[in-house]
């Protein structure tokens, strides 16, 4: 049997209704006891009051339950326990009976409400996780729906190119379709990432990663967008291990690289470095562009925010995704201008934990 009757609980949501219901219940029980008193004796009536307390506890909160228990004890004492119609109790065993009743009523009332609260909390959690699961399923199916036609476009173009024998003009068209397909794929990726962030559906899988690997994978991922910008990577020898979600960090750093490639003059280098700074791992992307205008430093990571006079194209999501992904991993981002001009974007990840490493000389 379920401890909660949904309709009844929602009817009893306002506190005044709970108190009224409790008092009503004690009243009805008193009436029943009055009728039964002759055949069962006044001591058995205490059990009927206890039953009433349990029933009340199933539907009302803790305080009305305690009120019901106290009210029941007082009325029982006053009306039924000899001498009748007096709070005075003559016999020791009656005194003990009242005391026992009162303690049992409080304990039962408390246990029942606690049980009910647990059940309600579990139900709420279940509902929440179900809506989360629904959201995730929806995002996954949207991802699948977009990726399939994009795969068909990219794959078909690849096939066409492989067959060869096309004119130069046709090859140009093919390149156009190919780069449009790749761009579409990136936009879908950005939109899905932003949607996951907004829906709170991001669950970073934190594990030990080497910053060197992340930087390399990010450069590789953004290779197509570099547009002739040379990339200079600077990472001191030795390990740069920190806990992070590799895939999210890779996308964050490649978004920074892509951002630099878009907003700086062609041919200017993009510098990427990684190093420990205090108890944090710093991943830095610095460019040789015009830098960030005053007042923009705080706003660049906002969703859909775009720099004044920036080139068309781009979704305005890239840097917001960087911030969201990094913060989801317990890190922080900041932007500024370098000493020799150019914008600098920093990702800081907590790195106070040190990995336990195997002992073997290399």
């Amino acid at each position: 049997m379920s401890l909660t009757e949904n309709r009844l609980t929602s009817f009893l949501a306002p506190p005044w209704r709970q108190y009224t219901a409790t008092i009503l219940m004690v009243g009805i029980v008193t009436l029943v006891c009055y009728l039964l008193e002759r055949s069962v004796g006044y001591q058995t009536l205490a059990l009927i009051y206890l039953l009433a307390v349990v029933l009340v506890a199933l539907v009302v909160g803790r305080i009305p339950t305690l009120l019901g228990a106290a009210l029941g004890a007082l009325i029982w004492d006053y009306i039924f326990v000899p001498p009748r119609f007096s709070f005075h109790i003559d016999e020791l065993y009656d005194k003990m009976m009242v005391a026992t009743y009162y303690i049992v009523a409080i304990v039962i009332g408390d246990l029942t409400t606690r049980l009910r609260e647990h059940q309600e909390a579990a139900m709420k959690a279940k509902l929440l996780s179900e809506s989360e699961r629904l959201g995730r399923t929806l995002l996954n199916s949207v991802s699948h729906e977009f990726r399939t036609p994009i795969s068909a476009i990219v794959g078909a173009v690849d096939n066409l190119r492989a067959e060869g024998g096309l004119s130069a003009a046709h090859n140009e068209f093919i390149d156009e379709i190919d780069s449009a397909g790749a761009r579409l794929n990136r936009v879908v990726q950005s939109l899905l990432s932003a949607a996951r962030l907004q829906a709170g559906q991001l669950q970073p899988r934190m594990d030990w990663c080497e910053a060197r690997d992340v930087v390399r994978a990010s450069v590789h991922e953004s290779a197509r967008l570099l547009n002739g910008h040379p990339v200079e990577t600077k990472i001191a020898p030795g390990h740069h291990l920190a806990k992070m979600d590799f895939v999210l960090m890779q996308q964050a750093v490649s978004n920074l690289i892509a951002n630099a490639a878009v907003h700086t003059p062609p041919g200017t280098p993009i510098k990427i470095s990684a190093r420990f700074e205090g108890k944090e791992l710093l991943l830095q992307v610095a460019d040789h562009g015009p830098g960030l205008p005053p007042g923009e430093v705080e706003r660049v990571f906002e969703m859909f925010h775009r720099l004044p006079n920036s080139k068309p194209g781009g979704t305005g999501l890239g840097l917001a995704i960087v911030k969201g992904f990094v913060e989801a991993q317990g890190g922080r981002v900041c932007a500024g201008n370098g000493v020799d001009g150019g914008a600098v974007f920093n990702i800081f990840l907590p790195a106070s934990d040190k990995p336990e490493l195997p002992e073997e000389a290399s």
Binding site: N140, S141, S143, H144, R147, T148, P149, I150, S151, A152, I153, V154, G155, A156, D158, N159, A162, G181, N185, Q189, L192, S193, R196, R205, D207, W208, C209, E210, R212, D213, R216, A217, T233, H239, L241, D245, F246, V247, Q250, P355, E356, L357, P358, E360, A361, S362
Partner: protein
């Protein structure tokens, strides 16, 4: 691109994918490359087809509408070791790992390019070919690994490896071209009790790169598979 297949006969491949467009695309890539292709649109149909006919290879989409792709994979793995390559999308790394740890041989992420798909399939077929003779000496560019004598040379000069480094290298070269998950590698080299210690792997892969890669900063052999594991690249 359309390279000739070394086997005399056609390779039979089963594609289990609910999207007709993907079925057509993969078929059009595989057929000119020496594959005979059968298709199934649901997990149930795929399981039935796989049971009726023997296929050399199965391409399985993880996003099936009826039975989940992972469930299909596990059911197929209950009775056959036919190589299975899964088709999946970006952002689904936990799913990929689950599939690989459940017996999938490799994966391809949509959108994929033709060369990548064919390379994955070739690798999966090669590793499934139990009849082949194990060569004791493996050559990868400037790197030579002699599995019989445990001698590893780079540009004809012997390289000294610790026993753990060698165990890791041997695992990689024996699975050349195939993706290995962190867990698979850790279980194999360090034992099941260390299967979650990814940091060991990060350190040792870096050591192997420093000792064996022509340019450790631009690895050509020990490739990182983001969020999944590693792949020893064999061109």
């Amino acid at each position: 691109m359309n390279e000739t297949v070394t086997r005399g006969e056609e390779i039979s491949a089963l594609i289990i994918d609910d999207e007709p467009q993907m079925q057509r695309l993969v078929t059009s890539i595989l057929e000119p490359n020496g594959y005979r292709v059968a298709t199934a649109s649901t997990g149930q149909e795929g399981l039935a087809t796989a049971a009726q006919h023997r296929h050399d290879l199965i391409l399985l989409d993880l996003g099936l509408p009826d039975v989940g792709g992972i469930a299909v994979l596990r059911q197929i793995r209950e009775w056959t070791q036919t190589p299975i390559v899964i088709l999946t999308v970006h952002d689904s790394e936990p799913e990929k790992i689950e599939a690989l740890d459940s017996g999938a041989d490799d994966y391809v992420t949509k959108p994929f390019n033709t060369g990548e798909l064919l390379a994955r399939l070739r690798t999966a077929l090669r590793h499934a070919d139990k009849g082949k003779v194990e060569e004791p000496v493996l050559q990868f560019g400037t790197l030579t690994v002699n599995l019989a004598t445990r001698l590893v040379t780079r540009e004809n000069r012997a390289v000294k490896l610790t026993s753990t480094e060698y165990a890791l290298l041997r695992l990689f070269v024996q699975h050349a071209g195939k993706v290995l998950t962190h867990r698979q590698i850790l279980r194999e080299v360090w034992g099941p009790e260390h299967e979650l210690k990814t940091q060991y792997l990060r350190v040792y892969v870096q050591r192997l790169r420093d000792k064996l890669e022509p340019d450790p900063d631009a690895p050509a052999f020990f490739l990182t598979e983001s969020g999944i594991g590693y792949r020893f690249f064999a061109s």
